[in-house]
Assembly symmetry: C2
Homo-oligomer: 409 residues x 2
């Protein structure tokens, strides 16, 4: 088995190692929840200060003529590079849930004339995606149906299916789906593919255009480190844009927003995915984080992510037989977090957090460990694995103070 010294040597040889200095990481903490909320980039406070003091404070309404108006598309272009999208296919605004509403509605409207008003979703999809898809489909006279994906394969698709919502990486298991093959299978049946990239963007390569994905949404506060509740992004394949209708229609999607016309006319470009005034200040953290991504390469990040999840899993399984590894270890179907199963997962997670190994619990028995390759070291993966084994073996998790549920996340 790998030794701690070997991990230190790997870190010394790691060409990505210096990127860790781009983040504020508390001492004595191994932060394994970058898949939930990324840490603060060191340059982010200066970006917030620029927008708040130098722009809003000094220019007031004039800020809209400086750079604010184009923030949604400027940030969209920056994210496009990380997800294999082309110019004019991505825009940043609103929450992931709101963006998913826009594209589920758009997909149903695209397919309505063919009577395809049924929306499928992966049975294990992140719950808010299920709620959004179901409520939007129902509101416009359609319906939604759960479809199990087993071993990366679609089930038989029901008649009338117009679109399907899939998560590129499963938030619970860390399983990575084959976007290209699944999208092709859906297209062969005339179904539009809507991908949620929340748990893949920033941790592994995404090739939306190559895979011919139709619509996609994603979160910026996980591996993209843009800050709590930062605006999300939405992708529309270029050839679908002109036929994409958004709900609701709002002034920032208007061809001439400041003409104040009583009738709506959608912008010809990706701005038609906007609705209300975008949250300018909340975008500042995303700029800081994307500057860091611009200094490296997503293929290198992916290689390191796989090395970290390999290492963690190897050390855990080599020294403990008390946990099951839920995440598939085949790199073709593995995301960037590892999920372990143990019947006492909740108190084990609490005990780990007490030791500075920050991970989380998902009912009833899962523990998630996210490995963000931008700032985690090999030695972090090693130490975290040793801590997991030690907490289980020593039964420190039986301490009564770990029994209560104190956290909301």
């Amino acid at each position: 088995m790998v030794t701690r010294d070997a991990c230190i040597a790997r870190d010394a040889a790691d060409e990505l190692a210096a990127l860790r200095n781009s983040f504020t990481l508390p001492p004595n903490m191994i932060y394994l929840l970058g898949n939930s909320l990324g840490p603060l980039p060191r340059s982010a406070p200066a970006h917030f200060q620029r927008v708040v003091q130098d722009e809003w404070g000094a220019h007031l309404i004039g800020g809209w003529n400086l750079s604010w108006y184009d923030e949604p598309t400027r940030l969209g272009e920056r994210i496009a590079r990380l997800i294999g999208a082309g110019p004019g296919e991505v825009v940043v605004a609103d929450s992931t849930s709101i963006n998913l509403m826009k594209v589920v509605y758009a997909a149903i409207e695209q397919q309505r004339s063919d009577g395809r008003i049924l929306v499928g979703y992966e049975a294990g999809l992140f719950p808010t995606d299920i709620y959004v898809a179901s409520s939007v489909a129902r509101s416009v006279g359609g319906s939604a149906v759960a479809l199990d994906i087993v071993d990366g394969e679609l089930p038989d698709l029901p008649d009338g299916l117009g679109a399907m919502v899939l998560s590129h990486v499963d938030y619970r298991s860390g399983r990575l789906l084959g976007m290209r093959a699944l999208t092709k299978q859906l297209h062969d049946r005339g179904v539009l593919a809507i991908w949620d990239l929340s748990h893949s963007v920033g941790a592994l390569p995404v090739q939306l255009d190559d895979c011919e994905a139709d619509y996609a949404v994603g979160c910026t506060y996980k591996y993209l480190n843009a800050g709590p509740g930062a605006p999300a992004f939405v992708f529309v394949r270029d050839r679908l844009l002109s036929s994409t209708r958004v709900l609701p229609e709002g002034w920032f999607a208007h061809r001439e927003p400041f003409a104040m016309s009583p009738s709506f006319a959608a912008s010809d470009d990706i701005r038609r995915l906007l609705v209300g005034t975008p949250s300018v200040v909340a975008c500042a953290g995303l700029h800081a984080s994307l500057d860091i991504f611009d200094s490296t390469d997503i293929a290198k990040l992916r290689a390191k992510s796989l090395a970290l999840t390999d290492l963690f899993t190897e050390v855990v399984t080599a020294t403990s037989s008390d946990v099951d590894v839920v995440t598939p270890m085949d790199p073709d179907v593995r995301g960037s977090h590892i999920t372990l199963r143990h019947e006492s997962a909740y108190p084990i997670v609490r005990a780990l957090i007490d030791r500075g190994v920050v991970c989380d619990f998902r009912a009833p028995d899962a523990m998630r460990f996210g490995f963000a390759p931008l700032y985690l070291r090999h030695v972090d993966a090693y130490d975290a694995a040793v801590a997991v084994v030690d907490v289980i073996r020593s039964e420190t998790w039986r301490d009564p103070r770990y029994a209560m549920r104190e956290t909301v996340t």
Copy 2:
């Protein structure tokens, strides 16, 4: 006519005068667009720093256990005081447009069983409100219709009308509607009243509960000074809450968001108006501004707002007959901005901005001057009026550099 010295004396005697020091206002600028984007509160940078560095930077995911989770309701309670709402009736999240979507959808669903799926809107409503109301109504099988309000009176209401969207203060003319009488007239016809408070909240008293308003939305970046694109608020009358269904349904509206259930169950409280993860960082500016409101009284702010708009209009009209005052001068129907009409409004506005009098243009011939009572002085209203008269009289606006449209707002 009032003299400049008299204005200086009024400022010296003004018990609200010191509040001006709570804002960052550029020198040599009279800022009359607080109705569009309020200025930076001096304490706002420290609030942003607290959230970004002290909370996100130091606590990472643990921030959700500090205060973030309750930000939407905590800020809702703070805004409730300014709009005459009770506990549990207001929540802060998303944009004004998205919030309007939620309540228009909710209102249609409330009325659907009576066949009332028609949504009325004021003919002169802010365009995005028209777009939202129309697109949402259409998407669920209803429709929307413009209804003229003349002299504050509703027209004959069409059969099947289920809800009406009204703006408390008209963004263009500055006209204030009688919320109590109009809401009652709508209720007498079985119609729900949805109020947009964007141009009244923070500048004049709003009494949602006393007026028995059903739903309301409002912006926080105008008179509430929360920063560009800051999250908006939404109000639901307590007795309607349990029957209010929101589109889309999202995890932050769930009774147990972190139980990750595949089925949606709406929260019993105002959190059911949430959708996705709220924009935590973007809320910081609103706390800063509400601290200032907490130190004063909305009735005093209203009295000063009326004094400022009186003063400005008096000086303009006493010394120039070249402009028409669009805003009604009866205090019962006057908001907090003054709209003047002149056929060369566009170049006049450009010339005024060049002189440091920041106002805006609304096609084809309107100039808007917002009077935020928190930070404007009587002498500002006087000097702005003198500048308007001087630019028109001297014809400096004929300078060719004022002819081009350079601004997006």
